[in-house]
């Protein structure tokens, strides 16, 4: 009996794990892109780009990710845009965390010494060249640990997509509860799986930090 319940639980959680991983990875990828586009847009030469980036960052940082995902799923269709649940989830998580990431990119770039910019200018590098070869390679290691934490935040926030009928780990645990009446087991298993994912992300980021070189680790 208990063996049957346990294997049922393991199967449910494994099903959910796929969705959680998919959400975390594609959400992080989207967040990564948004962070750079809007983080650099925030310090752009063009006023309109700056304003657009600031509006994006303020809106997505200013409201809760819970509210955003809910809005994308239930309210956006009223404006004629029906996103699939998975896409709404990825978009909500990615745009939200991307807005936080944009601030990280901006402050990491701005933390690069003025002398570096002057050197680029002296060498007659184009704006693209100076960012691509001089500024960003120095700023990137500074961003890494914060990106790591943002990825953890995204992974944890992905649990709320269970509320928009996406079958992630939390959702599967809830369905298991309704099916069996057990509560402790599914929740405990859920917490443990999330914690393992957390450790996995930490290891990933630490490896990335090591790869980006020890001397650039200094802040």
């Amino acid at each position: 009996m208990t063996g049957l319940v346990l294997s049922d639980l393991a199967r449910s959680i494994l099903h959910g794990l796929g969705i959680t991983l998919l959400l975390t990875l594609s959400g992080s990828a989207l967040a990564f892109v948004c962070a750079f586009v809007f983080g650099l847009g925030r310090i752009s030469r063009w006023r309109s780009v700056r304003i657009f980036s600031i509006v994006y960052i303020e809106i997505f940082r200013g409201t809760s990710v819970f509210v955003q995902v809910f809005w994308l799923y239930y309210a956006l269709p009223a404006f004629g845009l029906l996103l699939s649940p998975l896409f709404a989830g990825i978009l909500g998580l990615g745009l939200n965390v991307g807005a936080y990431g944009a601030e990280v990119v901006r402050s990491a770039v701005q933390a690069t010494g003025q002398d570096q910019y002057e050197a680029c200018y002296a060498l007659n590098l184009t704006r693209y060249q100076s960012y691509r070869y001089i500024i960003l390679p120095q700023a990137f290691p500074r961003m890494l640990p914060v990106f790591g934490n943002n990825m953890v935040e995204l992974m944890k926030a992905s649990s709320i997509v269970s509320l928009i009928s996406l079958a992630d780990i939390t959702f599967q645990a809830q369905q298991f509860r309704i099916r069996t009446g057990e509560t402790f087991l599914p929740f405990a298993a859920t917490l443990i799986v999330y914690f393992l994912l957390y450790l996995g992300i930490l290891a990933l980021v630490q490896a990335a930090m090591r790869a980006s070189g020890p001397k650039s680790m200094k802040v």
């Binding site: 309109s48 239930y74 845009l81 309704i178 099916r179």
Partner: protein
């Protein structure tokens, strides 16, 4: 200067694309008044998205994620006769079923929503198919005199749990239960734990669901009473207000299922009484105002 005009052009294109989306949806909303092009679209797609809330025995989701239970089984049988083979469940909380349907997250809501006058103005119901009574669950020996929502309203020490957005919530509100003693419950097991922990003293829900939960928690003693003073409630399958043609087609097939015995077989398999719904019609259950 040229840069600025390029940017303005880009903005205009983006705005234009956005609005063309909006317009398209408005057109599709009005298009389907004539003889069910919606059914045609469902047939072509091969499956119907069915709004569900996991509440045995109305809706049962098994370990493999397969959808069953009285509501979906009946809806599946009807849609199969209509030429739509597959059924894709869209699970949400009970309260989010109608908002989800209206937001086009599903094409229909599996039976389980009681046909009540207020709801008849929001969605298009099929003829009634599953009927049940309202019940109160409580700890054995606790508050033995509670029989109605009015009793609950009168006893200041009793907090009542109700499915969020359910008929029970409206009925209890109407009977005068104040908001601070009326707790929304997301799902069955949560309600049972709240009951056990004393967060609520009474949990009100349809009798069949209550019976299922009481069986699931067989180790502990719960007593079940039928709510006095409320009529038998009948549920129907719900469609979007603009899908009355689809609903009418559904009703025609439902009527044949009711006469050829398929309906009785499905309901008995899940412990529902097939006789109850035969005494009721949508028009009567929807009350004064004309139903959609």
């Amino acid at each position: 200067m040229r840069l600025l005009s390029t940017k303005i052009l880009t903005c205009a294109v983006i705005i234009g694309v956005f609005f063309s989306f909006t317009r398209q949806s408005a057109r599709s909303q009005t298009a389907a008044v004539s003889d069910s092009p919606q059914l045609e679209a469902l047939r072509k797609r091969g499956y119907v998205r069915l709004g569900l809330s996991n509440e045995p025995p109305w809706t049962v989701i098994d370990a493999e994620g397969r959808t069953g239970g009285a509501g979906p089984d009946l809806t599946r049988a009807v849609f199969q006769r209509m030429g739509v083979r597959e059924l894709a469940g869209v699970l949400s909380t009970f309260g989010a079923l109608i908002p989800g349907l209206l937001a086009r997250r599903s094409d229909a809501i599996s039976s389980g929503l009681f046909i009540r006058p207020g709801r008849c103005q929001a969605v298009a119901f099929s003829e009634p198919d599953l009927c049940d009574r309202e019940a109160l669950l409580m700890k054995m020996g606790d508050h033995p005199t509670l029989r109605t929502y009015r009793d609950v309203a009168a006893d200041a020490s009793v907090r009542i749990g109700v499915p969020a957005g359910g008929t029970e919530q409206r009925e209890a509100q109407a009977a005068g239960v104040p908001a601070d003693r009326l707790l929304p419950v997301p799902d069955g097991p949560s309600g049972m734990i709240m009951l056990r922990a004393g967060r609520i003293q009474v949990y009100s829900l349809p009798a069949s669901s209550a019976q299922h939960l009481a069986d699931l928690w067989q180790g502990q003693k719960f007593s079940l009473v039928l709510v006095g003073g409320t009529p038998v409630m009948c549920a129907g399958t719900a469609f979007r207000p603009d899908a009355t043609a689809l609903r009418n087609a559904y009703d025609r097939v439902l009527a044949t299922l009711k006469s050829d015995g398929t309906y009785d077989r499905i309901l008995r398999a899940h412990g529902f009484d097939p006789g109850l719904a035969r005494g009721h019609t949508r028009r009567e259950l929807c009350g004064e105002e004309a139903p959609l």
